[in-house]
């Protein structure tokens, strides 16, 4: 026990003496949290909107005004012809072009029916889809208003009944993107930093030759491993704590569930990551190698974690692979507990899977660590 404590003490001394390491551990991740949470958003705003108005009527101007009033659209300019508008889209100057045909107003009044042409730049398919929804929303609202206006008193009886849906957005009423992203990005940071640090730590002793010196001593495997990894466990908690505080203070992210539950789960989760880092460092000889391998896994874990893209929309085989992704469970747990107030029993499946993962990973790590080679 005394030996373990001494190693832990030594590790902490080394971490805090490393003037280059401290900012990397604490400052950079938090900068990332602040920047990414603001920047990594799926909200499409400031869509470059332009139009070709062939009608020049009161109704067509009213429609353009509608787009002007929306915060999503930036109405840039009117093009005299569709050909010129297409040219502008090719040059990337506009994203959406609305074409209002001739006799737009007249057709509406006479035939109660007309057509509009909408062209959307769909290089980014997801963004194009969202833009389409926005355009449709505005057109529907406009249509409804127009319908009331154009209606004759005699029509009232025959007025068609319509179904209107009023959505309620649970757990994130205002659809605040940050509420969704902050817990996820926090997961990303805790994972990245602890994996890199633990992965590089033992390799570093290999590189400077101290591992050889230590292997000749009667120190026990478990003493060395616990002594080496415990500090990073603590640092993982430190990062989580600072991240949660920042999330609350800067982004006002709700923390509905129980904090002890979050910490309890994080404790198990960190075992997985530390075991993984240790495993990596057993199979590498330099910090550079360890870093590359850790990166490889982190990128896959994060892109397949449901942090940025929903797992449900992945192909079946990819969904099955995500079962092996510890980051996925952490993201789920953080979002469930923080935003929905999930209880212990709600996240029990995740806890069990993570715990199994932790046991397997650390088992492999200890098994592969040899004092002789």
């Amino acid at each position: 026990m005394k030996t373990i404590l001494f190693i832990i003490q030594k590790e902490f001394k080394q971490i805090f003496r490393n003037k280059g390491m401290l900012p990397i551990i604490f400052v950079l991740p938090l900068l990332q949290l602040v920047i990414l949470s603001n920047a990594a958003t799926f909200e499409i705003k400031n869509i470059k909107f332009s139009y070709v108005d062939r009608d020049h009527s009161t109704t067509s101007r009213a429609l353009i005004k509608k787009f002007n009033a929306s915060t999503y659209f930036n109405v840039l300019q009117a093009f005299p012809s569709q050909a010129i508008a297409n040219e502008a889209m090719l040059q990337g100057k506009v994203d959406v072009v609305l074409e209002i045909p001739k006799y737009f107003e007249r057709n509406l009044q006479k035939e109660k029916h007309t057509k509009l042409g909408i062209t959307i730049n769909a290089i980014d398919g997801a963004a194009a889809g969202v833009e389409n929804v926005y355009v449709t929303q505005i057109l529907q609202q406009f249509n409804k208003k127009l319908a009331t206006k154009l209606m004759q008193p005699t029509d009232v009886k025959n007025r068609p009944k319509s179904i209107e849906s009023i959505p309620l957005f649970w757990y994130n009423e205002t659809l605040n993107y940050k509420t969704f992203m902050v817990p996820g990005i926090l997961v990303l940071l805790v994972t990245m930093i602890t994996l890199f640090l633990s992965g590089m730590n033992i390799v570093r002793e290999k590189e400077i030759g101290t591992l050889e010196q230590i292997n000749v001593t009667p120190i026990k495997k478990y003493q060395f491993i616990i002594g080496k990894l415990f500090p990073f466990w603590v640092i993982g908690f430190g990062l989580l704590t600072i991240g949660l505080i920042l999330g609350k203070v800067i982004f006002n992210v709700p923390i509905i569930g129980s904090l002890p539950l979050i910490y309890f789960y994080t404790g198990i989760y960190l075992f997985v990551i530390l075991g993984m880092g240790f495993f990596i460092s057993n199979f590498t000889d330099t910090q550079q190698q360890a870093m590359f391998i850790a990166w490889f896994f982190v990128v896959i874990f994060i892109l397949m974690s449901g942090l940025f893209t929903p797992i449900e929309s992945m192909p079946q085989w990819a969904q099955q692979i995500t079962e092996l992704n510890p980051v996925k469970y952490f993201v789920q747990v953080m979002r469930m507990v923080m935003l929905k107030g999930a209880s212990f029993t709600d996240i029990l499946p995740q806890i069990l899977k993570t715990a199994t993962y932790a046991i397997v990973m650390n088992g492999l790590a200890v098994w592969s660590y040899k004092k002789t080679n």
Binding site: F6, K13, N18, I208, G209, E212, Q213, V216, I219, N373
Partner: protein
């Protein structure tokens, strides 16, 4: 016997690092492994300190079997690797404390043993190990290797890259440690240090060429050696090599060490030959055999 090595072999893939090595080291002996870089010295050290498994052969260290009792060996040996491998970002005192703790002891408990060495670096005990000079690093490494009062001390090229004064001091320290009953196995590529050991093993290409006391090894040398010099050293070596009766020619400091194939060798004959070749200020005189000469002869 403090160390017994019998028929140890080790290869890395196709490269044979050690081939059928056998030797014994008595308790309290200062035993030197002398050989050039790549001779297999470090591999042998790594095997004897339980860091590496031998392919064949057995060995005991401090009376414990290398494979079955490796844990006990680890408590009873001190190992100082060739490369400085302490924590550069910890202070002198912290390094020493660290190694004391993982050996389950304290600095105070074994202070007597390291006192002589440690007092020299004690004024710098709050300095980080990385900031020490080469000689001081080496003293610290030795202190760390001694802190648990080992029965056997393994020193892998302890004086490589150390200045001549520190080297001399270091060997004096080893002599004093030896008097305290510690068995020391030391490797070095420097032939002059070999003379300071009780016994030496000359090792090359993973094979032991000869084991004996330095004096005996020198006596085994079959030829009489002559120091030869002239104004043009490079030409001298070429001309000596071209001489029909030469046995060996090696540059050695300011002289060339020359041996003749014949028992009855007359220096005047060689002098005339060299004069013919246009050398001036020729000196030819008999000299003492050194371990380096022996090594060169054996390694031929």
């Amino acid at each position: 016997m403090s160390i017994t090595v019998s028929h140890i072999s080790k290869s890395y893939g196709k490269v044979t690092a050690l081939k059928d090595i056998s030797f014994d080291v008595k308790k309290g002996e200062l035993f030197g492994l002398i050989g050039p870089d790549g001779a297999g010295k470090t591999t042998l050290f790594r095997i004897l300190t339980t860091l590496l498994f031998a392919d064949e052969g057995t060995a005991t260290v401090a009376g414990y079997d290398l494979v079955n009792d490796y844990k006990k060996i680890r408590s009873h040996v001190g190992y100082m690797p060739g490369r400085f491998s302490l924590y550069q970002d910890l202070t002198v005192e912290e390094n020493l404390n660290f190694f004391a703790t993982i050996f389950g002891t304290t600095i105070e408990e074994n202070y007597d043993l390291i006192k002589e060495i440690y007092v020299q670096i004690e004024p710098f005990k709050t300095r980080r190990a990385g900031k020490l000079s080469g000689g001081m690093k080496q003293k610290l490494a030795l202190s760390c290797a001694l802190i648990h009062k080992p029965k056997v001390l393994f020193l892998d090229e302890p004086t490589t890259g150390v200045d001549p004064v520190s080297r001399k001091e270091f060997w004096e320290m080893l002599k004093r440690l030896q008097q305290k009953g510690i068995t020391i196995l030391v490797s070095t590529p420097y032939m002059d240090e070999a003379a300071l050991c009780d016994r030496i093993a000359l090792i090359q290409d993973g094979k032991i060429l000869e084991i004996d006391t330095p004096e005996a090894i020198v006596k085994h040398y079959p030829k009489k050696i002559y120091d030869v010099r002239s104004d043009h050293m490079y030409k001298l070596i070429l001309d000596l090599n071209a001489f029909q009766h030469k046995h060996s020619v090696y540059p050695f400091g300011e002289f060339v060490h020359y041996t003749d194939t014949r028992e009855a060798f007359n220096t005047a004959e060689l002098e005339n030959y060299l004069k013919e070749k246009g050398h001036q200020n020729i000196i030819i005189k008999p000299t003492k055999t050194t371990i380096e000469d022996t090594f060169m002869e054996l390694a031929k």
